[in-house]
Amino acid sequence: MTRKSTQPAPEAVNGSQVRITVHHVTRVEGHGNIVVDVRNGTLERCELEIIETPRFFEAMLRGRPYTQASHITSRICGICACGHATASLRATERALSVQLSDQTVLLRRLVMHGEMLDSHILHVYMLVAPDFLGVGSVIPLATSHPDIVKRALRMKQFAGELCAAFAGRHTHPIAMTVGGFTHFPSRQQVEALRERAEALRADVDATVELFATLPYPQFERETEFVALVQPDDYGFIDGMIGSTDHPPRPVDEYRQVTNERLAVHSTAKHTAHQRESYMVGALARFNLKHMHLHPRAQAAAAHLGLSAPCFKPYYNSVAQVVEIVHCVEDVVRLLDTALERGIVPEDPAPVTLRPGARGVGAVDVPRGVLFHEYQIGEDGLIQEANCVIPTGQNLGNIDRDMRALVPTLLSEPEDVIRHRLEMLVRAYDPCISCSTHFLNVEFVGK
């Protein structure tokens, strides 16, 4: 990004002068910079610059057969690949009036749970935990805390294999197609997964214990939370768009929530709903539907000191740990259902092509709500496409958190400020490769 920002209005802060730049914030997916500039007690600039190159997926989809859309868009993000594929498939399926079988719905849920686990484990263990354990990455942890690293890898491996059993692969799923699946695991495979999921509980408990001991910054700022909501379920696919400020809306009305606009300092578009910004992701989901969590997850939340409503952005990681507990329990339950019903190879459900068919797909991926919307012609070629990505939705909120946070930190040494800001950005688990890519904090003078 070469552009100069013109956006933020100067805000008064206490006396000091701080200029901070963090170039290419690390341990996040994608590239971004944090820029803080405080002069004569005025916060001149405070923003997260998204410096990832724009990737133009919406343009790429134009003129392509709808069958390719989920495979192309999974390449938006290596970590939410299954989520993008699912949102893409849902958009296509809703456009082309596809009725999914119960089995397809069940298997898709399992895949999303796998991805949720994979992503959350990666995030809390490998990206967040090093901040609290005083190291720069997971690599020194392999020597200093081998048990922790091995546990993380073990859990992640299960998550990846869960995705792979149904979708063929976690990063860029293969077997998920419009209307269903192209591959089905054997009963033995499913039984083995069921057994391993159950055995994972010990690791899950150890995870909760570990994260219960970490000192999370208590910074707090009231904001709006947005997540997909379903009656009686802590689900991730489909549902209504729930908000802490507004009654639920159908997903087709997503534009009224996201209100995308350009932010000059960012290749990702910003969004705003009822307020200037809102937050999506694990904490938003927790705040909106904690009552549907598995009892073990609810207990874990209590143990971790998380209760709704929680306005502490650093606690997004805690909410992720709670979701890990929930997902493992739910996977056991879903696998039991699969075994009970038996997994029967079936052809994908048929599509109905008609002129100008439109559909919106919504999936709550690890980082928050993701929308895909397509218009598909009678020839099966995509005419228009739009993808609204969770990190894009969080960016405005991150900027505002930073602007509220910096004044409280001005007495701290620069390193601390820098680290706090980086941790804040990381807490959101931004996936900037999605919103195109991400991170860098720039402190300038003090």
């Binding site: 990004m1 070469t2 290419h24 690390t26 341990r27 996040v28 590239h31 190159t53 724009p54 990737r55 133009f56 919406e58 343009a59 790429m60 134009r62 003129g63 392509r64 390719q68 495979h71 192309i72 390449r75 938006i76 993000c77 290596g78 970590i79 690949a81 990666l122 490998m126 990206l127 090093p130 720069g136 990455s137 997971v138 690599i139 392999a142 890898l153 979708a167 063929g168 692969r169 990063t171 860029h172 293969i174 077997a175 197609t177 699946f181 192209t182 995308e260 606009r261 350009l262 932010a263 290749t267 910003h270 218009q375 020839d379 099966g380 070629l381 228009e384 496409a385 739009n386 993808c387």
Partner: protein, 283 residues
């Protein structure tokens, strides 16, 4: 044999799935950390070292400022390895090359977004710097990644298969998708992924690039036999290999590329209008 070489990972325009695959490889190959010293891996670590011998580069080059970074890496590294389809082929990123870049920008960011962000047609990194080896795939195959690192440690040149995917697909005794009427680019795509897509019932999309002997003419015939239109066949061929095919100019086995290799799709209007879907409100 290099004694515990220092390696570094860099990312350009990509989904970072290949770096994630490297992290995933640790699940089963934690011993890798004993063989190499990772000095840079932005996605996973904050420490940074600038003295490395092997650079793994993920992602395509999609803007001028990338070129400078690439050249700096080349200057430092003894060995540069392109990691994954984006770096190796241009990959999915190059699909946008079909239109002039300004049109693409307008389409996604609206009129105000035209030229707002730096971007140009996506290229494989070998178009900018000399690349020693490539690890193909979207994403890379974990086992292949480990194998190639091992070969580099032995002081050997990694070698990629130059035969089609069908070989591995047959060894796995899959029912051939093309025989079942489902499009699969296996016959022209470089093997090495154990035919993972056909093994999961889905046709190969060519993410590992084409073999040197690719028989496009008969591949097209096969796809036509499934009732695919020319536009659909072009779409199949160009999902990961747009850059390579466009570079073939008039010889490209595409129905929609005209004589001077121009990348405009016949079905599209001259100028890509701002999308009614994607272009946001102006700030």
């Amino acid at each position: 044999m290099l004694a515990k070489p220092k390696i570094a990972f860099f990312d350009f325009t990509s989904c970072e799935g290949c770096q994630l695959t490297v992290i995933d490889a640790l699940q089963t190959h934690l011993g890798l950390l004993d063989l190499v010293e990772i000095v840079q891996f932005r996605e996973a670590m904050s420490e940074k070292g600038d003295d490395y011998q092997i650079a793994f580069i993920e992602g395509s080059c999609t803007r001028e400022s990338d070129e400078q970074r690439l050249r700096a890496i080349r200057q430092q590294a003894m060995i540069v390895v392109a990691l994954g389809a984006c770096a190796h082929l241009g990959g999915v990123n190059a699909m946008k090359n079909r239109w002039p870049i300004e049109d693409v920008q307008t389409y996604v960011y609206g009129q105000a977004g035209r030229n707002l962000y730096e971007s140009y047609p996506a290229r494989p990194i070998s178009e900018v710097i000399e690349v020693d080896y490539a690890i193909p795939g979207c994403p890379i195959d974990r086992e292949e990644f480990v194998r190639i690192v091992q070969r580099l440690l032995q002081g050997r040149k990694p070698k990629l298969p130059d035969y089609p995917l069908c070989v591995e697909c047959k060894l796995a005794e899959n029912a051939c998708l093309n025989k079942l009427g489902k499009p699969c680019l296996g016959p022209i795509t470089r093997a090495g992924c154990h035919a993972i897509c056909p093994s999961h019932g889905d046709g190969c999309e060519g993410c590992r690039g084409f073999i040197s002997e690719a028989n496009f003419t008969y591949m097209r015939e096969i796809l036509r036999g499934h009732g695919l239109s020319d536009v659909e066949i072009d779409a199949q061929f160009t999902m990961f290999n747009y850059y390579q095919l466009a570079a073939m100019g008039a010889d490209a086995p595409l129905s929609q590329i005209n004589g001077n290799g121009h990348r405009r799709h016949a079905a599209d209007a001259e100028v890509l209008p701002a999308s009614t879907f994607a272009a946001p409100k102006e700030a």
